[in-house]
């Protein structure tokens, strides 16, 4: 019989808990309010997506990528499409590229809005969450115009995008770009520079640059640690090399570099940059095809390829092995949240229960892509 250590209390946080952002279970050993060890248990959402991929044709798998990171379906669609296109070695029409960038960046904004909102509601302020939802609604409307869906878009397909944009989409997007940046100021006034909020997040769960690299942390969480690494700049795909945008990095404005507040603020800065990118793309618009000529029955040449793209939550990679048939031989998905979650046990020794919530919230993990 195992000996129970009576100094500590085991506390199951999740799988159903308001701030585990899905069905994550954290087994916490606590001494009163102080957490001594955290063990994440995952897999509650396992759907064997990688195995499913082996039984479906290449285009058929696209809707499944929507279900990876459901808050950034466009970006997941995009990474998968890029992977298959790399093996196919086809040229994507210019218009399709611009459309892809617009959708990816709009989706990045909407995903970061949720990250911003859910962290704020984890910190006990519910109003900013609904402000985030309000702006996301606008983006959802835009996506509904182009593809009819509001969550799982399935819009970016192998070879281009599913269909051309409808009339009025450009105007509505411009309207959004005028409407959105002032809202960021509102978020900052309401939440980012709120004294209690800073107190809750500054100097909490500092990820040092070395740790970030060791654990494979990517995306805004990596940049918050002061490492300027953005795949849109380092390995430009689509037309990102033609676009002018900054890559914000954590500067430790309110505490140490790489603390929870920096991670939070990265999302705010990136939303501004994404809005800037969308504006440039709209100016670059030109006529053309929205999709390249892709055969109905898609046979992908045999080979191995790993393609990664910058998702809102970090580096989403697809490792694809093709045997020349219509179905992938093997598809491995590298989910950013999985690596980001792996650092939680290291960060949470000796913190308080409330900090643990801040850690999970500031890492902005999403469970469907962890469990796959």
């Amino acid at each position: 019989m195992a000996v129970v250590d009576e100094r500590f209390m085991d506390l199951n946080m999740g799988p159903q808990h308001p701030s585990t952002h899905g069905v994550l279970r954290l087994l916490i050993k606590t001494d009163g309010e102080v957490v001594s060890r955290v063990t994440p248990y995952i897999g509650y959402l396992h759907r064997a997506l990688e195995k499913i991929a082996e039984r479906l044709t290449y285009p058929q798998f696209t809707p499944f990528t929507d279900r990876l990171d459901y808050l950034a379906s466009m970006n997941c669609n995009l990474a998968y499409a890029l992977t298959v296109e790399k093996l196919l070695n086809i040229e994507i029409p210019r218009r399709a590229q611009i459309l892809r960038v617009i959708m990816a960046e709009l989706n990045r904004i909407s995903s970061h809005l949720i990250a911003f909102g859910s962290l704020s509601s984890d910190m006990g302020a519910f109003t900013p969450f609904l402000f985030g939802i309000r702006e996301r609604e606008f983006i959802n409307d835009l996506f509904e115009m182009v593809c009819g869906a509001r969550l799982t878009y399935n819009y970016i397909r192998i070879g281009g995008v599913a269909q051309d944009i409808p009339d009025g989409f450009i105007d509505k997007t411009k309207e959004f770009l005028d409407y959105f940046p002032p809202k960021i100021k509102e978020y900052n006034d309401l939440l980012s520079y709120n004294a209690i909020f800073i107190k809750r997040l500054a100097n909490i769960a500092v990820i040092s640059p070395e740790d970030a690299l060791d654990y494979g942390v990517t995306g805004p969480n990596l940049r918050a640690s002061g490492i300027k690494w953005d795949l849109r700049r380092e390995e430009p795909y689509l037309m990102y090399n033609e676009l002018d945008f900054d890559i914000p990095v954590g500067r430790g404005e309110m505490g140490r570099v790489g603390d929870a507040w920096d991670r939070y603020m990265m999302r705010i800065y990136e939303m501004e940059q994404s809005a800037k990118i969308v504006r440039q793309c709209i100016d670059m618009f030109q006529q053309g095809d929205h999709i390249a000529k892709v055969p109905k029955v898609l046979k992908v040449p045999a080979g191995e390829v790993y393609v990664r793209a910058e998702n809102p939550r970090g580096e989403l990679g697809f490792y694809l092995i093709s045997d020349g048939s219509t179905k992938p031989y093997r598809l491995k998905i590298r989910a950013p949240s999985f690596a980001n979650l792996s650092i939680v046990p290291k960060l949470s020794g000796g913190v308080m229960i409330a900090d643990l919530v801040a850690i999970i919230g500031s890492l902005d993990i999403i469970l469907p892509e962890i469990d796959r």
Binding site: P18, G32, E33, S121, G124, A125, T127, L130, F131, M352
Partner: protein
């Protein structure tokens, strides 16, 4: 000889106060939802009755009809006792709050309050301290780790802030020299330099800030709502409660808010006082007297009291939907390291100013 009519009048007053308190709780639940909806660009409940006014009734029916779950391993006696221990003190505390001038009816002096104790403020502290037991016992009896943590948080939070709150009120006691809330309200009608009403906020600005912060902590409202922090502790002490038992906790919280607002108004904003209004009418310095009937004066005062309480209730909601929440250690730090020293300083400064006869 026992004066039956006086007893009857006070019985009537207590019934009216109880009814008004309960209906204010009901209205407040709706107000909270409507105001938060307004702040968040939503509509809020607007389906039941005109402007959703009947929503509290629908909520009440819902709570009564719901299954009353008592989990297996709980301590049944304490589990049932806890919600009652929350709501009863919350309702009782209001008894000493005055809401108007004394009325003179055929030789009888009628206080416009349920009970005019000599120990008014002490009574409120004592009763409010009872209320916190409900939360602690509820957290313990639920046999749930989250509830237990919520109860523990509540206990330490209460200890930290009760002291600061009492110390802040000592300043008021020194200035006004009475524990009776009615007297305190009465004295705030007197004038400073002949024209500034001596309201608590002007006499005790620091004390007011300490008091209002402590009161927010005492009532478990944001930014101090740690015992029920839903992001961390799911529901905190009321995680396991359902049906009317949950409703009792809920109503207790709102009743506490009302009492707290009434206290803030009484101690620091003159209670039922309207500047320059006396029981014979308005007396303006150097301008003359404007006579009013006694009942009209009482009506104006009750209205003034209601407006002040309403404003502080709104402030509660406003802050609730704006601010994030403190962390547990930051909360106790604020209580012990900031508020209590400040409250002591406030007492010293008040004493010095009284020696110098400034206040």
């Amino acid at each position: 000889m026992v004066d039956y009519i006086t007893i009857l009048i006070y019985a009537l007053i207590s019934i009216v106060v109880f009814a008004v308190l309960l209906s204010t709780v009901a209205v407040l639940t709706l107000a909270e939802r409507r105001i938060s909806a307004f702040m968040q660009d939503r509509l809020g409940p607007n389906r039941v009755g005109p402007w959703g006014l009947l929503q509290p009734v629908a909520d009440g029916i819902k709570f009564i009809m719901k299954e009353d779950v008592i989990p297996l391993e709980v301590n049944r006696f304490l589990y049932i006792l806890a919600p009652l221990m929350t709501i009863i003190p919350a309702m009782l505390a209001f008894a000493v709050v005055p809401f108007g001038h004394d009325l003179f009816l055929r030789g009888r002096v009628i206080n416009l309050q349920v009970a005019n104790f000599d120990i008014g403020i002490l009574y409120i502290f004592a009763i409010a301290a009872m209320g916190i037991f409900g939360i602690i016992i509820g957290g313990w009896a639920s046999n749930n780790k989250y509830s237990l943590l919520g109860g523990l948080r509540s206990a330490s939070q209460f200890i930290s802030y009760e002291i600061a709150m009492s110390l802040a009120v000592i300043g008021i006691l020194m200035v006004y020299g009475s524990l009776r809330l009615n007297d305190i309200a009465q004295y705030q009608g007197s004038l400073w330099f002949g024209f500034i009403p001596k309201w608590g906020i002007l006499v005790q600005p620091l004390g007011f800030i300490i008091f209002i912060v402590s009161v927010y902590a005492e009532t478990n409202r944001v930014p101090f709502d740690l015992p029920e922090a839903e992001a961390e502790l799911v529901g905190g002490y009321h995680t396991e409660y359902s049906s009317m038992k949950f409703a009792f906790f809920f109503m207790g919280e709102y009743a506490n808010m009302i009492t707290a607002s009434a206290l803030i108004a009484t101690l620091y904003f003159g209670g039922w006082q309207v500047p320059y209004l006396h029981n014979i009418g308005f007396i303006f310095p150097k301008l003359g007297i404007f006579h009013l009937q006694q009942w009209l004066v009482a009506l104006i005062e009750i209205l003034s009291f209601a407006i002040k309480v309403g404003f502080f209730l709104f402030l509660f909601l406003w802050i609730r939907w704006t601010l994030p929440r403190f962390r547990f250690d930051q909360l106790t730090d604020l209580g012990w390291k900031v508020l209590i020293p400040l409250a002591l300083l406030n007492i010293v400064v008040t004493g010095a100013l009284m020696m110098l006869r400034i206040i």
